[in-house]
Symmetry: C2
C-alpha cells in the first residue's frame, strides 16, 4: 500500500474518518477493538490540525499489519516492578493500545502513591502525545510523555542523523483549558523538508545540514543529511536527554538503531515513557486557581492585540472548528484508504 | 553590600574560595554547616565555568541574611504526603540545604518505589542544577530538576517579562561521564544583556524585546523589556510548562509574583521540583552499556574533527582544568567578599 501523492482536498466528518480508518485496519488484520483505538488516535491528530500524525499513517500501519510486524489482539503485558513503576511489554501491538493500557494503570496508582511511571517497549508508534497528556490532565494529573523515534537529527556540531526527533508531551490541568504541550525536539519535520524538495524550493537557514554536517538550504541535500535540533545547542541537549532517558529506562534502541515508526519492514525498537503526578496529594487546589489566572494574564499579553497561546490553545480551537466544519482530507489519500477497506 | 564592578582577575584555589565564602556567610549570620553547603554550591558553579551562578551571588545572599529574609539554621520540614511524594517546606533557609535534604530522602525512597518526587517551597535560590543531578546520577539514578525564577522572559507573541528563565536539569547515569543537562529556557541571561548595555554594545537579534514586546538590538531597551525564550515558540512552550508544573505542585508564585532570587528585599516565592527514577528496578544494566556506546558515537560525530559534547562534558573538562589551575575570580568581587569576612 503506497502513500498517495497530494490531490484535491475534501471535508469529511470525524466519525466518517474513524469508521473508514477502523475498517481499513480491520481489513489489514487488526481486531476491531485495536483498530478503533488506533483510528481514534489518528483522527484526533487530524482534529487538532496535525495531519503529519493523522490518517496519512494508515498505509504504513496496514503494510506493517500485512508484514506481521504489528501484532493486533496481543494485549500488552504490564508489570509493577516496584510500587510506582510499571514495566510494559507492548507485545508488538499498536502504540495507542499499549499507551492507554499503561495510563489505565498509572492513574489510580499515581492517585495513591503520588507519582507513577510507565516504561513501554516493543510497542508501535503512539502518534501525537497531546491526546495522552490531555486525557491525564482531564483526570486532574500533571503528566509528561517522552518517546524516541528514528534518528533524523544531527548532534550539535556533528554530522549524521544520529538523534531522534524525540518529542516531549506535557499536560498540566487547568479547568477546561489545560496546558497541553506536544513538540518534537527537531527544528522541523523531515516531511516538511521532503515537501520543499518535491516543490523544488530552498529550505530556510537553520532547518538542516547536508550529509557532511554543513548547514544547507538545498532541500535535496538536507534530505540526505539531517534535520537540525530546534533552538540550537539547547534543543540538541534536550533531544539527546530524551533519547538517553527513554532508551535507558525502556531498554530500547538508541540513535540509528531505532526503527519501525516510518518504515514497513523493520521491527519496532523505540520506547515510550509516561510519567504521572497527582495534584491531589500535594493539595494544589488553591494553586490551580492562581495558575488559571496566570494563564489568562499570559493570553492577554499579545503585542498589538495579537493572540498569545498557552500550549494546547490552538489545537483546541482547531478541533472545535473541525468538529463543526469537518476535517480537510487529501482526496488521493482518502481514495487509498477507502480502497483498502474493500480489499 | 553592593555587587562590585568588574576589575582584574586572579586565579584562586577552590578550597580558598570555599573557606572565604563560608566565612563571609557565617559573618552575615549563617550557621557554619549551612554556610558550607551554600559555599560549596557556589564554588561548584565556578569550577564548572558558570560564574553567573558562582560567588558573585555572595553579596545578595549576605544582604538577605542581614535582612532576615534567609533564615539559617532552620532545617527544612520534609513530609511524605504519599508513598512517593515528598513535600518540603524550606523554612526560608538556604536553597542548597533544602535541596540536598530532599535528595537525601528521595534516593532511598526511589530505590524502593522506583520513582520519587519532591516539591520544595519557601526555600532560597538553589543555584546551578548540575550539581544536584550529577549527585543523583553518581548514585545511579535518572533525575530531573525544574525550578521557577523571576519573570524575565516574554510570552511568544506577547509583551512583558511574565515568564521565569525556568531552568531544567537532567541527569542520566553513564559511568564516569553521565549526561548532565543544566539549561535555562531563556535565550540568554539578563546578566549578559546588562553587560552589553554597560559596554554600549548592540545585542544580537533574537535575544530580547523592548517594553512594548518589539524585537530589539538595543541593550538598554532590552533591559527594560524582556528576554526572548530560547528556540522561539517551542522554548516558550517549555518555559511556561516548567512555570506551570513547578508553581502548581509546589504551591508557589507564578510570573511577576516570583521574587527573592535576585533582590535583597522580597521574600522567596519560587519553587523547586526534584524527580528521581531508579534504573535498578527496571534492570537497565545492559541498556546502560548501549547508552555509553551511543554517547561515544555522538562524541565522535564532529564536523571537521570538531568536538561534539554530550551535555555535561564541557563543564567536566572545565572543572578538571580549574581544579588544577585555579578559578579566575574578579578582583573587586573578591575584595568585597574578603572584607565581608572581617566585618
Amino acid at each position: 500500500m503506497q502513500t498517495p501523492t497530494r490531490d484535491s482536498y475534501k471535508l469529511l466528518g470525524a466519525e466518517e474518518l474513524r469508521l473508514t480508518v477502523t475498517n481499513a485496519l480491520v481489513k489489514a488484520g487488526a481486531t476491531v477493538s485495536d483498530a478503533q483505538v488506533q483510528a481514534n488516535q489518528l483522527v484526533d491528530a487530524e482534529l487538532r490540525g496535525h495531519a503529519s500524525h493523522g490518517i496519512r499513517r494508515v498505509p504504513v500501519l496496514c503494510d506493517r499489519l500485512h508484514a506481521g510486524l504489528i501484532v493486533s489482539g496481543a494485549s500488552p503485558d504490564t508489570t509493577w516492578v516496584s510500587e510506582s513503576v510499571l514495566d510494559v511489554d507492548g507485545n508488538l501491538g499498536f502504540g495507542p493500545v499499549s499507551a492507554h493500557a499503561a495510563i489505565d494503570e498509572l492513574l489510580p496508582r499515581a492517585a495513591s502513591t503520588g507519582v507513577a511511571l510507565a516504561a513501554i517497549r516493543r510497542s508501535h508508534h503512539i502518534g501525537m502525545l497531546a491526546p495522552y497528556v490531555e486525557r491525564m490532565a482531564s483526570a486532574g494529573f500533571v503528566s509528561m510523555v517522552m518517546t524516541t523515534s528514528e534518528g533524523l537529527v544531527h548532534p550539535w556540531g556533528g554530522a549524521g542523523a544520529l538523534v531522534g526527533t524525540n518529542p516531549i508531551g506535557i499536560g498540566v490541568p487547568s479547568g477546561d483549558t489545560p496546558l497541553i504541550l506536544d513538540m518534537s525536539t527537531a527544528a522541523v519535520s523531515m516531511g516538511k523538508i521532503l515537501d520543499y524538495k518535491a516543490k523544488g524550493l530552498e529550505i530556510p537557514h537553520g532547518w538542516a545540514v547536508d550529509r557532511n554536517g554543513r548547514p544547507t538550504t538545498d532541500a535535496a541535500a538536507a534530505s540526505e543529511g539531517a534535520i537540525s535540533p530546534f533552538g540550537g545547542a539547547k534543543g540538541y541537549a534536550l533531544g539527546i536527554a530524551v533519547e538517553a532517558i527513554v532508551g535507558l529506562l525502556t531498554r530500547t534502541a538508541f540513535g540509528t538503531e531505532v526503527t519501525g515508526t516510518l518504515d514497513a519492514t523493520q521491527p519496532t525498537t523505540k520506547g515510550d515513557l509516561f510519567l504521572v503526578i497527582s495534584t491531589d496529594v500535594l493539595r494544589a487546589d488553591e494553586s490551580a486557581q492562581a495558575l488559571a489566572r496566570y494563564f489568562e494574564q499570559i493570553r492577554g499579553s499579545g503585542v498589538d492585540s495579537g493572540v498569545v497561546s498557552i500550549p494546547g490553545d490552538r489545537a483546541r480551537r482547531t478541533r472545535t472548528e473541525r468538529l463543526e466544519a469537518g476535517v480537510p482530507v487529501d482526496g488521493a489519500l482518502w481514495a487509498t484508504i477507502q480502497a483498502a477497506c474493500q480489499d
